[in-house]
Symmetry: C2
Subunit: 189 residues, 2 copies
């Protein structure tokens, strides 16, 4: 049915890396970042994903991205959501993990080894003092101009919103868990 449609492939006159922040309390921040990784594949772009908080609870994207290898790589360096009920790790342990994650990020920046760098839940990690504001600023400063940088998580810092090119706030209008529906695979994790 699309045989009469002429498909155009847009190419910007000037390619440049964008700083994108996806914040807010609604569902669809990490998910959106995963969609960017998938979309990048269609353009032959390499994406590196570093997950700052996740690591203790299986999430479908871990195996999903394996289907996108070698274009997409994911490292889940976290120990779950610091301070959330049931999470057994201390703040010091979470911070150590997040600091290790920063080192990974610095290596990626230094080696200029991807086109899109996704720092999943780094906004939370900053809010929870697992990383410092100066450290996040350093990432922005070290970013090669052609590299997209995507930062997700609630409570994005206003200074980074100021510096970003595109910022979306995902607002929760409603969420299934409020109706006591359990998290469902494929949608919630």
């Amino acid at each position: 049915m699309t045989d009469q449609v002429i498909v155009t492939k847009f190419e910007p006159e000037h390619r440049q890396g964008l700083v994108v922040i996806i914040t807010g309390d609604g569902k669809g921040k990490t998910t959106s970042a995963m969609g960017m990784a998938l979309r990048g594949c269609g353009h032959g772009l390499k994406t590196s994903i570093v997950q700052f908080m996740k690591g203790d609870l299986y999430s479908g994207e871990w195996d999903g991205v394996k289907l996108l290898a070698p274009l997409v790589t994911l490292q889940a360096t976290g120990k779950g959501f610091c301070g959330i009920q049931g999470n057994p790790y201390s703040h010091a342990e979470h911070r150590k993990n997040a600091q290790d994650a920063l080192q990974l990020v610095k290596n990626i920046l230094k080696e200029d080894s991807c086109d899109t760098l996704i720092l999943d839940e780094i906004n939370n990690a900053l809010k929870l003092k697992l990383v410092d504001k100066d450290q996040v600023q350093q990432i922005l400063d070290l970013r090669p101009p052609h590299m997209h940088l995507v930062m997700t998580g609630r409570n994005a810092h206003p200074d980074f919103i100021e510096q970003a090119d595109t910022v979306s706030e995902v607002r929760e209008i409603k969420h299934a868990y409020r109706k006591d529906i359990e998290p469902q695979p494929g949608i919630d994790f």
Copy 2:
């Protein structure tokens, strides 16, 4: 660094399909739906994507999802954004395409051939009268209880927000195009 982390794989006592709506004017609605398709792969879930508006302008997800085949299939049945400057197709042509897309959707529902059904930009298609409200209601009524239904696009109808389990509104805080930055591959398309 994650060797001390115990990874738990959550399994809900009761699996059920969710109706998810991603609406709002910000960047990250289709992208989020693509992330759900990717995430579903990690759980072995099959996703069918029908894009109601897109079809005239190449978007990276078209080739990206091919890497997820056969778990994920995508059909871009649209002719671009109806009424947008530069789009040469009449409302009647856009409507015919959207109606054909509905037929695809009905077949998917009838054959119960996926775990997650993504109707990309169907909210816009309804707003632009390319599909009718009764027709969208019929999709919700025909949905098998185990099937996730994800509806994206601006201006989601309040009646469907009412019926949905999870609804996120993606608000634009800022967007690169307002700084006259051209759309960039991997991020914007």
